[in-house]
């Protein structure tokens, strides 16, 4: 997301209309990020509001020469990670699947050929259900990877974690979801 430097400059002078413009620009992005993390509307709105207040209170320390989006994203990610809520964790089921004899091309092409909306909804439902059971950090790495489209290195920079830790977290999170999907598709 590109934000014009002039808006930020106006925000730094506490221009009300500039803040309104900036926040409206980020409304959908921020809400989706928060919703993907908490998976419920009320918590997502609460976190988004907290992020906006933090941005407002800290805009004076932001360097206009730097890109705004990574700064905003870091505040949003940290606010999500600090958000406390009772969470339950699930265990991993390790059952193996079915037999087939398709070629590499057929296997790779298959997921994009799925046109059944019902199946899509079911898979989405399985992801939603199990996403809530993942550890908060695991959920966040998945969001940064699939919602933000960041590379492993970029995720490590946002979370200030070693690259190896980020890779392990993504691997574990994906593995849990993969096994759940595998079980559901049997």
């Amino acid at each position: 997301m590109n934000v014009e430097a002039s808006i930020i400059v106006r925000c730094k002078k506490y221009d009300k209309s500039a803040f309104t413009e900036l926040f409206k620009m980020y409304e959908r992005y921020l809400y989706k990020l928060c919703y993907n993390y908490v998976q419920n509307e009320q918590d997502a709105l609460d976190i988004a509001q907290e992020v906006y207040i933090k941005v407002f209170n800290n805009i004076s320390s932001f360097d206009v020469k730097m890109p705004f989006h990574p700064w905003f994203r870091t505040i949003a990610v940290n606010t999500c990670l600090n958000f406390k809520r009772a969470l339950r964790y699930d265990s991993v089921s390790l059952n193996a699947g079915y037999e087939d004899d398709r070629t590499f091309e057929e296997v790779v092409a298959a997921p994009w050929d799925v046109e059944s909306e019902v199946l899509d909804k079911e898979l989405g439902h399985i992801i939603r259900e199990n996403l809530e059971c993942l550890r908060p950090k695991h959920r966040m790495v998945l969001i940064l990877r699939y919602y933000e489209g960041l590379s492993y290195e970029e995720i490590a920079a946002v979370l200030k974690e070693p690259l190896g830790t980020v890779k392990t977290d993504i691997y574990r999170a994906r593995n849990i979801l993969k096994e759940k999907l595998r079980n559901a598709m049997k």
Partner: protein, 146 residues
């Protein structure tokens, strides 16, 4: 999962970070290994589903975060903080001025110069006395050590 093939290669294919050589290995392997074919199938399905899931817009159809009110509240809080800061600064400034004026007034009290000189001399004498005492004690300690 007993074929011994490195499953990381399958994930690297999904991540689009696979080496050309690894890609050739993977392609060959998938054509005869059912286990890895299933794994690739699952990895690709999950990748696809995760992208779709996180990009789903259906949850924000009626989104209204009432941003105008939020900004108004932030501005109100900011003004409150600024007013408090201003009042505190004014109080500090006033206190400093009162102290300055009191000192100026003290200069006109009869005998104030004599008292000031006396106080300075007393401070200097005390300082010298302390220095000599410390010096003596240190010397004593060093002698005991040797």
């Amino acid at each position: 999962m007993n074929c011994g093939f490195d499953r990381e290669i399958i994930q690297r294919y999904a991540d689009n970070t696979i080496d050309p050589l690894e890609f050739i290995f993977l392609k060959e392997h998938i054509n005869y290994c059912g286990e890895c074919r299933k794994e690739l199938d699952m990895v690709m399905t999950l990748e696809n589903e995760l992208y779709k899931f996180f990009d789903d817009d259906s949850k924000i159809i009626n989104l209204d975060m009432n941003i105008t009110r939020l900004v108004d509240d932030c501005m109100y809080e900011l003004n409150k903080r600024e007013k408090l800061k201003y009042t505190l600064n004014r109080s500090i400034e006033f206190g400093r001025k009162v102290a300055d004026n009191s000192l100026k007034f003290a200069e006109y009290i009869p005998g104030s110069k004599f008292i000031s000189k006396g106080a300075k001399r007393a401070a200097s004498l005390t300082g010298n006395l302390m220095k000599s005492l410390v010096k003596k004690e240190v010397e004593k300690l060093l002698t005991n050590l040797w």
